[in-house]
């Protein structure tokens, strides 16, 4: 097997994206969905049920009494909280696989994924981008999933990638592509495909380092994820071995005529939101 074939085999062996999350997201997407339908889906998965109850009873919400019914918790949390909880619960498990190759700290990939998701939400909201919230959150959360697979294959080739990056002329993704023949974004796209995510999300993951190559109909989503990734890396959330060696994709900022102060304000809003999210998700900001 050549390297690409080996990696494709590893992609096939990845645990599937939890069906319960997929199905729950479909129900939540229906306007005025039946809560009991949602509860029927969720209750099958004990870990998901436990997480929902745990979040609902967390100090963050400060409820006067303990909630022990799943239905009550679902109603209390509401669709937005629930969607984020389900998606980030699934993603955190995927990213927390030990990855010796690519992460400086064990939970660095996950922290970066979460920061990018939060950043993309802040950008979507404050730039008033007409684009589905779930889609943005999911694509941003999973954009680096290719690194999870790739990091166990790079081992001996890593030094070559590193020295190309050190030369200062190559971004980490460009060096990956040069040394391996493909990059983590491409592999991430393949994983998302194997998980049956829609083409929009697959495109955003595949092209998050090269948004100009994304198909036109998915361009805005891809540019948004690319920008959110840039900003999350820049402010220091989850920079692994690649440091800040990624190319800037500020096209969206230029299109929207945003100035320095606007970007600073977006970062401020992001940080406030990130502190809240880390608090709720029990992630240390570090």
């Amino acid at each position: 097997m050549n390297l690409m074939e080996e990696i494709i085999a590893a992609v096939d062996e990845m645990p599937p994206f939890p069906q319960v999350v997929h199905r729950a997201m479909q129900v939540i997407a229906i306007p005025e969905y039946e809560v009991s339908n949602l509860v029927e889906i969720l209750k099958v998965d004990q870990a998901v049920t436990a997480n929902i109850l745990k979040l609902c009873n967390s100090a963050y919400f400060g409820l006067p009494r303990k909630v022990s019914s799943l239905k009550e918790a679902v109603v209390y949390l509401g669709s937005d909280q629930l969607k984020q909880l389900l998606l980030s619960g699934a993603a955190s498990k995927i990213y927390e696989k030990p990855s010796e190759g690519y992460a400086v700290f064990a939970d660095e990939l996950w922290r970066h994924a979460l920061a990018t998701a939060v950043m993309s939400q802040v950008l979507r909201r404050h730039l008033r981008l007409k684009i589905d919230e779930n889609m943005v959150f999911t694509a941003a959360l999973l954009h680096d999933v290719g690194k999870v697979v790739l990091s166990s294959f790079v081992s001996d080739r890593y030094i070559a990638i590193e020295s190309m990056v050190e030369s200062g002329d190559y971004s980490f993704q460009e060096a990956e592509k040069d040394v391996l023949g493909f990059d983590h974004a491409e592999i991430g796209g393949k994983i998302a495909e194997s998980w049956d995510f829609p083409p929009s999300i697959v495109a955003a993951i595949t092209f998050h380092h090269e948004p100009a190559r994304s198909p036109k109909e998915f361009r805005l989503l891809t540019e948004l994820v690319a920008l959110a990734n840039n900003l999350a890396v820049m402010v220091g959330y989850g920079t692994g071995v690649d440091g800040l060696a990624c190319r800037g994709h500020g096209l969206l900022l230029q299109k929207l005529k945003l100035e320095e102060k606007d970007v600073e304000e977006l970062i401020l809003l992001f940080q406030m939101e990130m502190e809240k999210t880390c608090d709720i998700a029990g992630v240390s900001e570090r």
Partner: protein, 160 residues
């Protein structure tokens, strides 16, 4: 020895010689370490943005997020523990950039520029710095001797 973590948009000071202050993942943010070797008082600030005028309300709640609020506060808190401005050793790290010829993502540069401007106005000399590039840095300060170590992506550990 205890490791005291300074988060993003955070500052801490100490006079416990057993402590090591640490702040992780400085990208475009700046880590500012100040130390008085006589009083053995030190402090570390990790700020994100240059100027609090974009949101006064948030600045009041979290001054360490901004250079213009966090830097004076860091010094003041050290003075409270007996540090003297004349003796302070000042070291700075961070202010990195992603690879961007268009200059859209230059917050790191602006974070550093405001610090230089504030120090110049207040006659503060920088004793050591490691700024810019596209690496990320983790900054450690040992309280017993004020030694600053940097862990730099792609380079490893160096003393500043």
């Amino acid at each position: 020895m205890s490791l005291v973590t300074i988060g993003i948009a955070d500052l801490k000071v100490s006079n416990n010689p057993e402590d090591t202050l640490v702040t992780y993942s400085l990208g475009s943010c700046i880590g500012l370490a100040v130390y008085d070797p006589v009083a053995k008082v030190g402090g570390l600030l990790h700020y994100m943005l240059p100027d609090s005028s974009i949101n006064q309300e948030k600045a009041a709640k979290n001054p360490a997020m901004f250079a213009n609020k966090g830097i004076p506060l860091l010094f003041k808190q050290c003075y409270k523990l007996g540090a003297d401005k004349k003796r302070m050793i000042i070291k700075v790290a961070g202010g990195s950039q992603i690879m961007d010829a268009a200059g859209t993502f230059n917050i790191g540069k602006r974070n550093y520029a405001i610090l230089r401007k504030m120090f110049w106005k207040n006659n503060v000399m920088i004793d050591g710095e490691d700024i810019g590039g596209n690496c990320n840095r983790t900054m450690y300060m040992q309280l017993d001797d004020g030694k600053i170590n940097l862990k730099i992506s792609k380079k490893g550990m160096v003393e500043l």
